[in-house]
Each structure stands twice: as structure tokens, then as C-alpha cells.
């Protein structure tokens, strides 16, 4: 039996105004898999993540992206989220005045509504998130505060994964979730991510550091340069990269 593809990106060319950023990007991610995407600064990793999540302002000039067999690029960002695409932001955004719990409850209820499930009230929601709070060892007061407002860098990242834990996406894209985390937080967050792995879901983990991949063990590692994947391999590729640097890989 062949595996179910979650995400199929074919020959994707995209950019902003007159700048071409993705230049023929190909990647297929199947259910149950964890893929790591590495690459030099400015090679286009966040751009890819943004395009997958549906951020405005990018022009796709060529290629296709399928999510669970559907044309992903057709969908509005909120529709993608409701269908199970989740982006953990490299720079989570502060939303002053909007309570974190209220925000996440609204998000979860949107997803539930689109699945035809009843919405949760505040009490049911709190019951549901209790375990997830523990999982990520989140400080309770964070949920009483405004979304990301005044959170430390590490708290913001942890909060992203907490949201992921609550929303239970089919496809999670983690954009440099490890940067800015201290070593303890890194372990907690990785444990969290690993626990969220399910046979019917997949993860795309963008990182610069092999360190993260000690905890979140990828099935595949891809190296990106100048808008496309230039090398793919197993988890050893990350080790090789760590030892020899990009130069060596790009030349080989």
C-alpha cells in the first residue's frame, strides 16, 4: 500500500514583485513523515512557509502545490488553517488587547465548525487545553495575557507549539522554532512536537541547527539553496552539514 501524500510541491516558482525567490522547488511529504529543511540565510525557506500558509504578496509564476490532493494555492489562508495547515511562525506576532485563551478558543472553534463539530464553550476549552499546557510546561499566566504581548522570545516559540498541540494540524510547518530557545525549552518543545506526531499527519521542520534534529528526528533532510532543494538525504545529511558546512555540500 502506498503512503498517503499530504503535501506535493512541484516545480514551484514564486517571488515578490520583480524578485524571484523560489526557483523550481520540489517536495513531497507523506503521512507520518517528518522532513527537515535546512539552508543558507536568504535561500527561501520562510518564503516557502509563507506561501504554504497563504500569506499575501507573493506571486506564484509556475508550478503546483497540492494538499491532501487539493490545490492548496486556491484556498484563503484561514481555509488552509481550518483544513489542517499550521505554520509555527519564525516571528510570532503580538496582538495587544486580545486574550490568548480567547484567541486560541476562537481558532479551535473555527476548525471545529469547518469539520461540522460543535463549538466548545470556555469551560470545555479549558478542560481540553489542560493537558497541553502541561505538555509544554507553559506558565499559566501566559494564557491570561494578550497574544504574544511582552512574551520573551522563547515563550513566543513555546506558545506556537502549544497552539499546534491544541489545533492538531495535519501538516505542521515549523519555521525555526528552535532559534531563541534555551536548551531546556528546546527539549520541552521537541518532546511536545514528537508527541504530536500521528500516522496521519506530517511535519516540515525548518532549522539551521542539527541540534534540534537530535530531538526531533527527521525521516528526511533537505538542503535548500537559491530557491530550490539541492540535496536530500536521511538524518545523517544534517550531521554532514554540521561537520563540513554548506560549501562542501553545494559543491559535491
Amino acid at each position: 500500500m502506498s503512503k498517503q501524500p499530504i503535501l506535493e510541491i512541484e516545480n514551484l516558482h514564486a517571488g515578490v514583485e520583480n524578485k524571484q525567490i523560489l526557483k523550481g522547488f520540489n517536495l513531497t511529504i507523506n503521512a507520518g513523515e517528518v522532513h527537515a529543511l535546512m539552508g543558507l540565510n536568504g535561500s527561501g525557506k520562510s518564503t516557502l512557509a509563507a506561501i504554504l500558509a497563504g500569506r499575501d504578496g507573493y506571486d506564484v509564476t509556475e508550478g503546483t502545490v497540492k494538499y491532501l490532493g487539493k490545490d492548496l494555492l486556491e484556498l484563503d489562508p484561514e481555509e488552509r488553517a481550518r483544513e489542517g495547515v499550521f505554520l509555527a511562525f519564525q516571528y510570532p506576532v503580538e496582538i495587544p488587547g486580545v486574550n490568548s485563551t480567547y484567541f486560541l478558543k476562537a481558532a479551535l472553534n473555527e476548525i471545529r465548525k469547518s469539520k461540522g463539530q460543535p463549538e466548545l464553550d470556555a469551560i470545555e476549552f479549558l478542560e481540553l487545553v489542560k493537558d497541553k499546557i502541561k505538555l509544554l510546561e507553559l506558565k499559566d499566566d501566559l494564557l491570561k495575557r494578550s497574544v504574544n504581548e511582552g512574551f520573551s522570545g522563547g515563550e513566543k516559540k513555546r506558545n506556537e507549539i502549544f497552539q499546534m498541540a491544541v489545533l492538531e494540524p495535519r501538516l505542521a510547518i515549523l519555521d525555526e522554532t528552535d532559534s531563541g530557545l534555551d536548551i531546556d525549552a528546546l527539549k520541552i518543545v521537541s518532546t511536545g512536537v514528537n508527541k504530536l506526531k500521528r500516522p496521519d499527519s506530517a511535519q516540515l521542520v525548518i532549522t539551521h541547527y542539527q541540534r534540534l534534529l537530535n530531538y526531533i528526528v527527521p525521516d528526511f533532510v533537505h538542503v535548500m539553496a537559491d530557491g530550490r532543494i539541492v540535496k536530500s538525504g536521511g538524518k545523517d545529511l544534517a550531521l554532514e552539514l554540521e561537520a563540513n558546512g554548506y560549501e562542501a555540500i553545494l559543491k559535491s
Binding site: V16, E17, A53, G54, R55, D56, G57, D76, P77, E78, R80, A81, R82, F86, L87, F89, P92, V93, E94, I95, P96, G97, V98, N99, Y102, F103, L104, A106, A107, E110, I111, S114, S146, Q163, L167
Partner: protein, 482 residues
């Protein structure tokens, strides 16, 4: 990210829900303003001579005044001769003895606006005085209130039934000499609400006036007077809507509040006059003078306003803190979208000792709207140990709108303190996208952010109106992003 800014600016209006016209035959005086017009109004209302004289004095004074120009709003010169100063639905036979006898068309109008007046289906816990153009249609729950000695009726009835109270307090907070539009109002006011809460009585329900302008070419000039006697308390609400018309219509009201020793008055407004279309055609000019006098010791007046309507909003609900230990509060949300303009804020005049005032103003600008906060905090020499806290926050949605702040502070003694905080923020494309990426639509995201911004003000509104206000805000900003 060119499309990002485009989406934020693709501001379209949402249909104004209350823009219908009620098809009733009305009798309006022909446009024009002179002493005869005023005598005509006074005669129509069968007023005592002292009131006619007061109106005439106000009119003569008004004629000596010049329209002010310091406000940060622009509008073509108003032709005061082109306005009809009195318009009422044509009475059918005898005057209705109870609300159930009122012209069904009028009752329907209020029903459509969500304000059922008939005995059955009335809003629970809220007594309503419904003002239609220049006259009061009726007041609900008056008998229940009367049992507690509370007077709640139209201004015209009060003039006849409680002349002493009216005579004593009319113009005592806003004299006709106060300003241009207050003088005009004093000359031509037609109706309004009157409310008196006797000593020691806490009003058991919300009192509310619902203003509706229906007739074309008319202005609405109403007068509200609320007096809370010693240790009395009352919570009062004001709502307003008007049909969509291409012409601008003037609404120049005066509201006076008087709080005696230990009395408390909470006055809340949800203002939703027709704002005009997205090109700025039509809409109400809302030029209103609202002022409260904390006359007695430890009295307290709270103004809460949510201003989403009107082409132009220009008003400063204020407090004169005369009694020692009195408190004045002003909580405001003012929204401008499309071509709307607002110049609003408050004045807190500290005269008594140990007086306190709080100002929380939230201005939201979208479209090409211009929103100004203008506030005066004056602490006089006599007002030892007084305190003020002011917070003025502005939020911008899109790049073509404006927010302006004009705070004036005068402190004349050394034992008092004044604190002023201000901030300006934008709803960023980043914030919207972050919400989208979590499954929330752009409209819901904007509502959530805007409501978060206004939280401190909404929590001052009576419960059910807070919910209304939140919805209203959502409608006013519908389409302002994305």
C-alpha cells in the same frame, strides 16, 4: 508587499441597517428661523410664558454669536434658514392615551430598530422614551417608576407637570450663552427626556431615550435633563439612528445632568446616526453639548460613549466637579470609517477639593476618516488634592485615515496631580495574517483586535449594550480590511 497594503485599504461600506424611512404623514413647519418660528414651536407645545421668553432670549443671543472654527472637522456652511425646526407625525384624532394607542407605524419603526414599546415584548429592565423627529412617541414603564417617585417623561410633559423642577435646572449646567449650538438648541429645542430621581432612590431599571430622525430637511434639537437628588442613582442610555439621505441633517442636542450629594449618574450613549455613504454624501452632523454637574459632595458622573455613526461627531461630554470629593469619568470609543470625521473628547473641571477624574478615550480610524481627541483637564486653585488620569489611544486601519490628539491641561495648585498617557497603533497586515493562519477570517480578526482595543470602555457599558456595541463596531468596520 503591494497587495498587503491594497487589501487593508480596500475599504468598503456595509449597508447601514437602520436607513429605512417610516412612511407617516408628518407636519413640519416650513424651513426658516426667526422669532416667529420660535413662538410657533412654543405655541404648538402650549408652553408657559417663562419658557417662551427664555427661548427668545437664547435666540437673540445666538444671533450675536459666530459659528466656531477651531474644531478639526470640515463641512460646508450650514444654512440655518433651510432647516425645518419642528416636525411631528400628524396626530390622528385625539392624543393617544397609552402606548398601545400610538400609530402602529411608529410602533413598528421602533420594533424594527429593536426597541419594542408595546406592553407586551418591551425590553425587560429598561424603560424607554422614544423620540421621533421633534416629539416623544411615548415612554414605557412610567407607572412602575412613579411608584418609587421617579419621574421619567418627555421634556414637554415635564414642562407642564413639573415646572418647578424644570425651571430650577434648565440651563443650570449648560446656559444658553455657553456655545453656538447650545444657544441654538435653547431657542428651538422641541422635545427630549426628563428624569428626576428623588432622594435616596436607586433607579431599579435602566432608563433610556431612543432618538430617531425620520423627516427630511429637518433638524433634531432635543433637550435632556436628568437630576439625581441626594444619594440617588440612575443609569441612563441613549441610542440614535436615522434614515439614509443624501442631504446632511443637523442634530444639535443639549444634555444636562445634575448630581446632588452622594448621587450617581451613569450616562451611556450608543450613537449610530447615519454616517453618510463611502464618498461622504449625506449623514448627520452630530453637534451636541453634554455636560454634567457634580453639584453635591461625593457625587459621581460617568459618561460612556460609543460613537460609530454620524458624518461628523463634534462633542465633549464633560463634568464640572464642584462638590468636594466628587468624581467624573469619561469612557469613549469613537470610530470613523469612509469619510466620517470626529472631534470629540471631554472637559473635566475640578473645583471642589479631593475631586477625581478619569478619561479613557479610544479612537479608531479607518478609510479616509479623521478622528481627533480633544480634552481639557482644568484643576482650579480651590481643587486641592485633586487627581486626573487620562489615557488616549488611537488605532489606525489603513493608510489614508488620520488620528489627532489635542490635550489641554491646566493645574492651578500644587497638591494635585495629572497623568496623561497616549498611544497610537496600527492594525498590521502581520496581525491579520497571524489570525488568518489560525483559521480566523479577516473580519473576525479585525473585530477581535478592535474589541480588544476598546475593552476598557465596553466594560463600562450596561451588559446587553456592551454586546450591542461590540456588534455595532463590527458592522461599522466591516470591509475595512481585506
Amino acid at each position: 508587499m503591494s497587495t498587503a497594503t491594497d487589501t487593508i485599504e480596500s475599504l468598503v461600506k456595509q449597508e447601514y441597517k437602520y436607513g429605512f424611512v417610516t412612511d407617516v404623514e408628518s407636519e413640519s413647519t416650513p424651513p426658516g428661523l426667526n422669532e416667529d418660528t420660535i413662538r410657533h414651536i412654543s405655541t404648538k407645545k402650549n408652553e408657559p410664558v417663562w419658557l417662551t421668553d427664555w427661548r427668545i432670549k437664547a435666540f437673540r443671543y445666538w444671533q450675536t454669536m459666530k459659528e466656531p472654527t477651531w474644531q478639526f472637522v470640515k463641512y460646508p456652511k450650514i444654512d440655518f434658514q433651510d432647516i425645518s425646526y419642528f416636525s411631528q407625525p400628524k396626530p390622528k384624532g385625539d392624543a393617544p392615551k397609552s402606548l398601545d394607542e400610538v400609530d402602529p407605524k411608529l410602533l413598528e419603526t421602533y420594533e424594527k430598530l429593536g426597541i419594542p414599546l408595546r406592553e407586551r415584548g418591551r425590553l425587560a429592565g429598561v424603560a424607554v422614551d422614544a423620540i421621533f423627529d421633534s416629539v416623544s412617541v411615548g415612554t414605557t414603564y412610567r407607572e412602575d417608576l412613579a411608584k418609587k417617585g421617579i419621574i421619567f417623561c418627555s421634556f414637554s410633559e415635564a414642562v407642564h407637570n413639573h415646572p418647578d423642577l424644570v425651571k430650577k435646572y434648565l440651563g443650570s449646567v449648560v446656559p444658553y450663552t455657553d456655545n453656538y449650538y447650545a444657544a441654538l438648541n435653547s431657542a428651538v429645542f422641541t422635545d427630549g427626556s426628563f428624569c428626576y430621581i428623588p432622594k435616596g432612590v436607586r433607579c431599579p431599571m435602566e432608563l433610556s431615550t431612543y432618538f430617531r430622525i425620520n423627516a427630511a430637511k429637518s433638524g433634531q434639537f432635543e433637550r435632556t435633563l436628568i437630576v439625581a437628588d441626594e444619594s440617588a442613582s440612575v443609569s441612563y442610555l441613549e441610542g440614535c439612528t436615522a434614515p439614509m439621505r443624501d442631504e446632511n441633517q443637523l442634530h444639535a442636542a443639549v444634555v444636562e445632568l445634575v448630581a446632588l450629594d452622594q448621587a450617581e449618574i451613569k450616562y451611556s450613549t450608543v450613537q449610530n446616526w447615519y454616517p453618510g455613504d463611502e464618498n461622504g454624501v449625506g449623514g448627520i452632523y452630530n453637534f451636541v453639548t453634554k455636560r454634567g454637574l457634580c453639584k453635591g459632595k461625593n457625587s459621581r458622573i460617568t459618561w460612556t460613549q460609543v460613537e460609530t455613526g454620524s458624518a461628523i461627531t463634534w462633542k465633549y461630554p464633560s463634568c464640572i466637579l464642584l462638590g468636594d470629593g466628587s468624581k467624573g469619568e469619561f469612557y469613549s470609543v469613537a470610530v470613523v470609517n469612509n469619510m466620517q470625521q470626529a472631534d470629540t473628547g471631554t472637559k473635566m473641571i475640578h473645583i471642589g477639593k479631593n475631586t477625581k477624574s478619569t478619561i479613557v478615550s479610544k479612537g479608531i480610524s479607518a478609510g479616509r476618516g479623521q478622528n481627533s481627541y480633544r480634552g481639557l483637564v482644568e484643576i482650579r486653585k480651590s481643587a486641592a488634592n485633586s487627581r486626573n488620569f487620562s489615557q488616549c489611544d488611537s488605532m489606525l486601519i489603513g493608510a489614508k485615515c488620520g488620528a489627532h490628539t489635542f490635550p489641554y491641561i491646566e493645574v492651578k495648585n500644587t497638591s494635585s496631580s495629572v497623568e496623561h498617557e497616549a498611544s497610537t497603533s496600527k492594525i498590521g497586515e502581520d496581525q491579520i495574517f497571524y489570525c488568518n493562519a489560525r483559521g480566523l477570517s479577516t473580519q473576525d480578526a479585525v473585530n477581535m483586535i478592535v474589541n480588544g482595543f476598546c475593552k476598557e470602555v465596553f466594560k463600562e457599558l450596561p451588559m446587553e449594550f456592551a454586546v450591542e456595541a461590540q456588534k455595532l463596531l463590527g458592522v461599522s468596520l466591516e470591509g475595512s480590511v481585506g
